[in-house]
């Protein structure tokens, strides 16, 4: 039962601490004084509050109590703000980077293409060189980063709350909040709390390196810079969700839980984190909007994976009803990233099909496009877990859907292979198609075939060199490809050597009608002259041609020799006596050596220099 004496005392205490009343009241803070002072004030507030509930109040009393309440609430609001500001402990970010469990999501892949650094190509297609080196460097950093960047074990509860305020402050804040809410000043309380904590979170964001980039800024980013920022976001986002936001949520609970009838803790939490959470997601959204160049695919997939990994934590932290609008953003943005990734793959396929360079690669060797595409495909197989989930439809083939010629392909023979695998096969098919087109720019037909042989063989080797690729593409298609390069090898040989072997045929050398079945010496002379000239030409020209793969080179030479040597030996055997030695330029051994000079990419003069040493 409130007595007038107690009420007056309480009122006096409250009036004494009215900020507008005295300099002292303005400069000193109650909650920085001793515990006794604090308790006295709180009791005074309680006293006034309970007196308010009495029904037997005169107008005068009621008015005085109302004033006192308002003054005390204003005061408590300032105290609340002060405690929050002066006692906040900033988030510890450094030890976190290590302590977050480092289970890699994918096992590091030993890739065959690591040794395949882009050669110094004389090809005029500079863009492809650039693209190739981008892909190579990206893959190195990507792989290292992926294995140490983020945790994956979802069975572990990964939330890591930290204490943002000392426990004494928390209990003080709770005492204040309790009274403010009981007096109907909930709104003021939320406002104060939210505005202070929002600034603190802002500061933490800065520390973690979360930037406030606009969409325009992100569009203007160079590829390297974008990569770096995505990497930084991936590292920071995890901390933001499981440490920063989780800690803020815990703090809200500690201060506001079970006070009043509305879920005060939820309201305060949302007030605090809504804008920062949006900032975090806006970055990802901006990335998903940016132009769909194929190089970005893998970093986008990294981003996709890390956001996906965060979903359970996001659901955890933002589980209240008011937080729903934040929670649902994540899957939406995720699906936009997925769409962007699909778009990039599609862009890549278009780019491979339409890659327009016409200048033939000297020597018929591996085209930079081939390397680029195979590197890219290898990376795709690295990411097959994620991409496999995202790519759900078959590639569109044939010219119907493009304003551009494209090969037809039906995938009936590849039933049962997942869509991603079909895309890989399609990519290789259009690569071949493009290479076929390029091969037509060689003036020499034989070189065109060599070019195809080299490039398709390279493709086959790459596939064979990776068990994942091989498994995805399947042996059936591998066999098809093998047939292609073997056929090209045969075509090449035929194109080059038919003319040569033609010189060594039997018919036409015997003079007709003569009794002694003699050999036409003039015809023979012509034959030898032709043979020598053609072989010279082939030797000189094709020494400069290149078959980079050693084994293939050997096989090709052996195959040539197998046809050439016996024919020549038998020709020599039969006809050398009919003609002066002047016309015989080559011995069998000379031919063998000559063929050994082929396809190394050196001029003949260099060969003879080497041999004479």
């Amino acid at each position: 039962m409130a007595s007038p004496v107690n009420d007056n005392t309480a009122e006096q205490i409250i009036l004494r601490w009215d900020t507008t009343a005295s300099e002292d009241a303005r400069t000193r803070m109650i909650f920085e004084s001793d515990r006794e002072e604090i308790n006295r004030y709180l009791q005074a507030v309680d006293q006034i509050q309970s007196s308010m509930n009495l029904t037997t109040l005169s107008d005068e009393q009621s008015k005085k109590l109302n004033n006192a309440i308002q003054i005390s609430m204003a005061r408590l609001e300032d105290e609340f703000r002060n405690i929050l500001i002066t006692n906040s402990t900033p988030i510890e970010t450094e030890p976190l980077a290590d302590s977050i469990s480092l289970t890699p999501r994918t096992t590091p892949r030993t890739s065959s293409f690591r040794s395949d650094s882009p050669e110094n190509e004389d090809s005029s297609n500079g863009r492809n060189n650039e693209s190739i080196s981008k892909i190579s460097s990206a893959s190195f950093t990507d792989r290292n980063e992926r294995s140490v960047t983020f945790a994956s074990c979802r069975s572990m509860n990964s939330i890591r709350e930290q204490d943002l305020l000392p426990s004494e402050s928390i209990s003080d804040l709770r005492s204040i909040a309790e009274r403010m809410i009981a007096a109907g000043y909930f709104r003021e309380c939320v406002q104060v709390y939210g505005s202070v904590r929002k600034s603190v979170v802002d500061g933490s964001f800065k520390k973690l390196g979360v930037e406030k980039l606009s969409i325009g800024d992100i569009q203007r980013l160079e590829w390297e810079a974008m990569n770096a920022k995505i990497g930084r976001w991936i590292r920071a986002a995890k901390v933001c969700i499981i440490v920063l936001f989780a800690s803020e949520k815990k703090l809200c609970k500690q201060i506001f839980e079970d006070l009043g009838t509305t879920a005060a803790d939820d309201a305060c939490f949302i007030e605090t984190v809504k804008a920062p959470a949006n900032q975090l997601f806006n970055f990802v959204e901006a990335i998903s909007i940016s132009r769909r160049s194929p190089e970005k695919l893998f970093k986008i997939l990294d981003l996709h994976d890390s956001l996906q990994d965060l979903l359970p934590d996001i659901d955890d932290v933002f589980d209240s009803k008011p937080a729903e609008s934040i929670r649902i953003q994540a899957p939406e943005i995720l699906s936009r990233l997925a769409e962007a990734a699909r778009g990039m793959l599609s862009e890549f396929e278009n780019a491979v099909l339409r890659e327009p360079s016409k200048v033939p690669v000297p020597g018929g060797t591996i085209h930079p496009l081939t390397r680029y595409v195979m590197n890219y495909i290898s990376l795709i197989s690295d990411y097959k877990q994620t991409l496999g989930e995202l790519i759900i439809s078959k590639p569109t083939t044939g010219s119907r859907h493009c304003d551009f010629a494209a090969p037809e392909m039906d995938f009936d023979e590849h039933e049962g292979q997942p869509p991603l695998a079909l895309h890989l096969i399609w990519i290789i098919a259009i690569l071949q198609f493009n290479l076929e087109g390029k091969s037509k720019h060689y003036k020499d037909n034989s070189l065109a075939h060599l070019f195809i042989m080299n490039n398709v063989h390279y493709i086959v080797q790459k596939i064979k060199g990776s068990s994942e690729l091989r498994e995805m593409i399947g042996d059936h298609y591998l066999r098809t490809l093998t047939r292609v390069f073997r056929q090209a090898a045969t075509n090449h040989q035929r194109a080059t050597w038919i003319g040569v072997l033609h010189c060594l045929r039997d018919q036409g050398l015997h003079s007709t009608g003569s009794f002694s079945s003699g050999v036409s010496k003039s015809a023979l002379r012509e034959r030898f002259k032709s043979f020598n000239a053609i072989f010279d030409e082939v030797h000189r020209t094709q020494a400069l041609w290149l078959v980079p793969d050693e084994q293939l080179r050997e096989e090709l030479r052996i195959s040539i020799l197998e046809k050439l040597i016996p024919a020549y030996r038998s020709f020599l055997g039969r006809f050398r006596n009919h003609i002066s030695d002047n016309y015989i330029k080559y011995s069998v051994e000379d031919l063998e050596n000559g063929v050994l000079d082929l396809f190394e990419g050196y001029a003949v003069s260099q060969h003879s220099r080497r041999r004479s040493q």
Binding site: R26, T27, R28, M29, E32, S62, K63, N66, N67, A68, I69, Q70, I71, M73, A74, D78, R81, N82, I85, T86, N87, S88, T89, P90, P166, Y185, R187, E188, Q191, S195, V196, K198, S199, V200, D202, G203, E211, K212, S214, I215, G216, Q219, K274, A275, N278, Q279, N282, I289, R292, E347, N350, A351, R354, P356, S357, K358, H401, C402, D403, F404
Partner: protein, 406 residues
Amino acid sequence: MSPTDTHVFFLNRISIRRNQVVSMDNNHEQDLEELELFQKHISDRFTQLLPTTGEEETLTSDDISDQMLSITWFRKLLDTYLCCESEFKAVLIIGRDSSQFSKPPLDRLLPEHLDRTVKALDICNAITNGIEVIRHWQRLAQIAVDALEQRPFVEGHVRRAKRALNTLLMSMTGEDKEQNAHAGKSAERMWSISRRGGAGGAVALPAVNHNRRAIISRSLSSNFMRSWSASKQILAMTTNLAAPRGGDSTGLGLPVYLMSSILVLVMWTLVAAVPCQERVGPHFQLPRHLVWTQPMIVLQEKIGEEWKRKEKKGTSGLLAEIQVIEKVAQNLVEFAEGFDFPVGAEKADEVAEQVAKLAEVCRKLEVGLGPLQLQVREVFHRMVRSRAEVLDVMDVVAKINTHVAC
């Protein structure tokens, strides 16, 4: 057809039309007709946004719902944008020879338009932020409403209302009405968040408590860097925005220009109305010689005038509801400052009227801000989608041309 229906319809048509050989003659007629219609529709739609003659736009009118620059009006504006945009895409892409995209003037105009779209995306985000700020103001106003709806008027409630309204007005106008003198110095000291070592004998900050409120409320965290400025974005969007002169064989230069102008106008209007970072008003001009743009010009002039008028006082945003809040809040603060208990019946009625107005506008905000925010997001996503579609077509064309040229 709603904007989304048109969108789906458009997508279906494009895959059929793409490979059709377009015969120049009869389609040329069709194209011209399409363009005429497009312009006419724009004009019609914007005419509907203008106040009908005789309608007063001043704050004395009680029902601001259909007033220009109210939330309802803005929703119509955004709807208008979406409709124009659908039609624009249809005009631009369907049935057109896409090789025109790589020739002048489209080879320059389209990328510029797309660039404006990107800037508009950022403005949409700024507006979304701004709507949150308005929500914050609404809550402060609600405190005052609740306090002043209590009878009889007591000093306690009035002071509470006054405190909330002062915070509100400081936030709206950026002015610190209380204790301006201390504002500068205390700022730095306040922001050193010191760790209390528990020793209790820490130096007491010679704090001026009220200023903390001011500075914190002003720095309501923005998701943009300090250097970002809404008005600079708008200004950048107006660069190179010029009506095409003759000599455009594609006939597409004009619709692109019109769509860009609409985009700029809509964004400019949003920035005028909603608080966002650095929005000191730029004023841009639409050329007068194009018949169809008349309603747009009239609209822009009206808003521009209003903006210039209010700018001198340092305004928080031209949104009708915000203007009401600002005015009523100022009235009520005046009342609160001259408050004398007991309040006479006449005075009480005056105040009650103002409070009712404030309550009404708070209710409008409560109901209207959510849908408005959603609509801004819808505009955002539509711009993203359209941009991607146009880019796709442009890329295809570019690659074909490279192939052919080599």
